[in-house]
Subunit: 167 residues, 2 copies
């Protein structure tokens, strides 16, 4: 029913890395500056093995990097720090937080306000276009084929990059 | 180790509704204007029972609403349309897509470009504060206690709204 294929969809590939509650909660704490296993465990409530697996995956995907540290009298351990690729996730977490604040908060309001360090005013995400226009919402945008678009086999114009039978 | 509780975290509550790959893929198609079960199934690749369960949950949470339709000679069916609460998810999906475009795309580039309907220029999400300042990234923001912040029991200032033993 659609002429193009979705197997290189950027949302789907993002979810292949992030598509799971604990991963997002670990990232929430990473953005809060939490770096150590025991602290991440206490703050997310993730079972130890789950946390261990999620951290390994985030390191493997290049979103976190391990940095050794050693407390006096203890063995050396690793802490986990956001890479640039990880830091670039920030708008995803902020947009989730703002949606939750708007639609899921308790009657008394959101638990946390995200404010500009410089002036203390609350921050928000705005959609604008490269011409500088404000884009009010989903009805004001149009998807266009990008350079990586793949056509379905059998579609006029479909070239050798399409694989019949693939997702 | 932290004085405040995270059990009313807006990110966590958002994930309670959305924290799963198929849910996001259904929403991706909903934003693409896809409304019918068979089309959603074909385009997401979700198993029938999974799709059925995810749609029921999205309706229950008020992100989609069911609207009956009837093709000639067929029984009446429901299609699924985004509510305002669902439409408000748009920045989450756009920010996921842009992160995937930046970090997960094939060498030839992103499959889809999101452009402003008015002028055709690509759109992006920018973080600004209410004073109008551009906020460049996570290091320029500070979290502050919101009206719904809950203190941990035993913390000086913790009131009757905290429940010892709760998450």
């Amino acid at each position: 029913m659609r002429r193009f294929r979705v197997d290189n969809c950027s949302i789907e590939r993002t979810l292949a890395v992030l598509g799971e509650k604990w991963t997002f909660l670990v990232l929430r704490e990473a953005f809060n500056g939490v770096r150590r296993f025991a602290d991440l465990q206490a703050l997310t409530g993730a079972p130890r093995q789950v946390l261990s697996a999620r951290l390994a995956r985030l390191v493997e995907e290049g979103l976190l990097r391990k940095v050794p540290y050693q407390e006096p009298g203890q063995r050396q351990r690793d802490e986990y720090r956001l890479t640039q690729k990880g830091l670039d996730l920030h708008p995803i977490l902020i947009s989730m937080m703002h949606w939750g604040d708007r639609h899921m908060a308790d009657p008394e309001g959101p638990p946390v306000l995200v404010t500009h360090r410089g002036c203390g005013a609350p921050v928000s995400l705005r959609m604008t276009c490269e011409e500088g226009h404000e884009v009010a919402g989903p009805r004001e945008i149009t998807p266009r084929p990008g350079p990586g678009l793949r056509l379905n086999a059998g579609t006029p114009g479909a070239g050798s990059t399409t694989t019949p039978g693939a997702a």
